[in-house]
């Protein structure tokens, strides 16, 4: 067994996923990267195969597995070498479904959760705004109650899956005078009048995940689209972010592992000064540093996931996972590029893509600096 936490069942899913990624995703890497897009069928196909609901209850189209199934999922997806794809799937499986499952009504679960897990509906989560990035509490998007509807006005930015999503789970201010206690979450369906995708943003990496700027102008949504209790939105989001960060960390380490494997393969076959460059002590030690950092980050994540699986809410450890994994992914990808020498700078070698892709890890889902703020607070500072 690969690890104490993984059973034969996990390993069977891992094998299936690996075959799927190798056969159905990896061959398209270059094409999708160039197009800065991957087709919608990927969501449907992965839903059909049950991959999107591995850890969710069967009654909503899930497979009934545990949290470690999600780890297997993100570890295997990273092997596609397409950073934007796991990112899109992080939204689809770990950012939108948990709050619906936790806070939603039965009707909302049937309408939004089940089709998301089956890949029939593409989901996105709307938190960040042009002037509210790290400072989540400064969100300006406003929802005002009018009879049996909410009228929403505002802008969201950097929304992954935002261009093609069938619905958005949106954070808006419902009680402006109440600070943190004045936010709520809403479902907004695509094609609701007043809701438009204003721009598709171009990024330095994660090219094939779509990133949108969204605009809400007198957008009316029915009262039943409120998720959970009114004015509990900030807490719901803080809760949601824990899963996003933990599984984002899994993806970051898996991306690092992918870059490491490529660097190792290159160092074995590249000959300079009459021998493979991996036989030079400096390169060998560089590879050792990479492997060691990856292993340490991975074990921190596994141990933290175990705590979560025990019902704990380990915010400090999750923030540490996110911080370490993001930094390790960038350091490892950078060393992998360096080992490739001049070829590392060429677009035809995938290592430059991983280098660009993983850079988002230190920004998205809470920057390194925000993680440190959280950890500092949890230390009582």
């Amino acid at each position: 067994m690969a690890h104490y936490f993984f059973s034969e069942e996990h390993e069977a899913v891992r094998r299936t996923l690996r075959r799927f990624v190798e056969k159905e995703l990896a061959p398209h890497a270059e094409e999708w990267e160039k197009a800065e897009y991957f087709p919608d069928w990927v969501f449907r196909r992965m839903g059909e195969l049950g991959f999107l609901g591995l850890r969710y209850p069967e009654e909503y189209g899930g497979q009934g597995g545990d949290l470690f199934m999600s780890i297997v999922f993100f570890e295997e997806l990273a092997r596609s070498g397409i950073g934007g794809l796991p990112l899109a799937m992080l939204v689809q499986t770990e950012m939108v479904p948990p709050p619906i499952l936790q806070f939603g009504t039965e009707e909302q679960k049937q309408k939004y959760l089940a089709p998301t897990l089956k890949g029939e509906k593409i989901a996105c989560l709307g938190i960040t705004e042009p002037n509210a990035g790290s400072d989540v509490a400064s969100i300006q998007t406003r929802a005002v109650r009018e009879g049996d509807r909410w009228i929403i006005n505002g802008r969201k930015i950097f929304i992954t899956n935002g261009v093609r999503a069938d619905f958005i789970l949106l954070v808006a201010k419902t009680e402006p005078s109440k600070g943190h206690q004045g936010f709520s979450l809403f479902f907004v369906d695509k094609r609701t009048p007043g809701f438009t995708v204003s721009r598709k943003l171009k990024k330095v990496g994660m090219a094939c995940s779509d990133t949108a700027e969204l605009l809400f102008e007198d957008c009316r949504v029915p009262a039943e689209n409120l998720l959970g209790e009114e004015n509990k939105g900030f807490y719901q989001i803080m809760w949601e972010l824990q899963g996003e960060r933990l599984f984002g960390a899994v993806g970051a380490v898996a991306g690092a592992q992918h870059a490491f494997e490529r660097a190792l393969a290159y160092a074995r076959q590249r000959i300079q000064f009459g021998r493979p460059i991996c036989e030079f002590q400096v390169i060998a030690h560089k590879l050792v540093d990479m492997a060691t950092e990856i292993e340490a980050a991975r074990q921190l994540i596994y141990a933290t996931t175990w705590k979560v699986a025990q019902g704990e809410y380990p915010v400090k450890e999750i923030s540490m996972c996110k911080l370490v994994a993001a930094q390790v992914s960038c350091r490892v990808a950078d060393a992998a590029l360096q080992i490739h020498g001049g070829y590392g700078y060429m677009m035809e070698y995938p290592v430059q893509r991983t280098w660009r892709d993983v850079r988002l890890n230190r920004i998205g889902g809470g920057t390194d600096e925000i993680m440190k703020e959280i950890i500092a607070r949890s230390l009582g500072i």
């Binding site: 990024k203 330095v204 990496g205 700078y345 660009r356 920004i363 920057t367």
Partner: protein, 385 residues
Amino acid sequence: MVAVARWLFQEEHEILRKSIRSFVQKEIVPHVEEWEEKGEFPAELFLRLGELGFLGLKYTEEYGGSGEDYVADAVFVEEMARCGSGGVHAGIGAHAHLATPPVYKFGSEEQKQRFLVPAIRGEKIGALGITEPNAGSDVSALATTAVKNGSHYVVNGSKIFITNGVRADFIVLAVKTSPRAGHKGISFLLVEKGTPGFTVGRSLAKLGWHPSDTGELFFENCFVPEENLLGEENQGFYYIMQNFQWERLVLALGAVSAAELALEEALRYARQRVQFGKPIGKFQVIRHKLADMATVIETARCLTYHALSKFVRGEDAVTEVSMAKIVACEVHNQVADEALQIHGGYGYMMEFPVQRYWRDARIGTIGGGTTEVMKEIIARRIIKD
């Protein structure tokens, strides 16, 4: 009177700096986005720089230069790097700092008239061809051969990662003339565009440096007249090593200057971006980050100037130049990375220039000798084994 900011410079250098800076601001900066998008910059820029005399600062007047002033040339490098496009800087740099110096130093009078004079005017574009698919860090593994056949050399082989390679009018080409003599069997030939048997492949797509062309060159029974031999036969490795000192200084100078530009961009953003009710530049972590960036830039700059001054005085500067190349290029990466981080989500967006600074910086610790190769050189000189 123009104030002299640094011990290395004279008043005339600061006057030159002002004029290059205003040229770069007026004639390059406004086009950078467009040239980045297109992946090229117009050849007219070479002509314009030639016209202004900037391509001949380190060459004597008889060839159209303006005196052998390497410090003036350093000013040119620093100010060109501030255009904000590593690729434009690289294309001009490969011509002015890689291709023309060996012709000036080792060329015959006739070669200088044919190649150097028009290159200084910007009428002919040059490239330096050393790296091959299987000879990167290991220069002595060059496999492109030149075999004497009557009054010609017959060249066979290929080159890769050649900046300006696609559009160059001439290549200063490293070839093996004595294939079994290792690094003692390397010579330089001047190969003109259009020589039968010399073809140029595609321009390679790169992570950064988009407007500079990076060529793959192929030589198949390419006949090069013997008078195109540069300097002496089998002295090429020595010429390469000589030229590397200036090339590495240029890379270090450009890295420091570009790092400074990234810092300025980060400062501007930190002052205007408001989160948690105040500009992020008011948060201690961001302030200390910016202070770290300024400090490592200053350190790299001082080391680079020290190496430059030794080089200018004609002293052995190999250790210092190698150190400066490492420090400046590592600092450039580090500063560009922090500048991107300070920009948060916007740093990841193509519409902000900081992502380009970050991509452009990344070639620094690879091109012109990797950091690892620099350390080998320093180690050999300090360990003396």
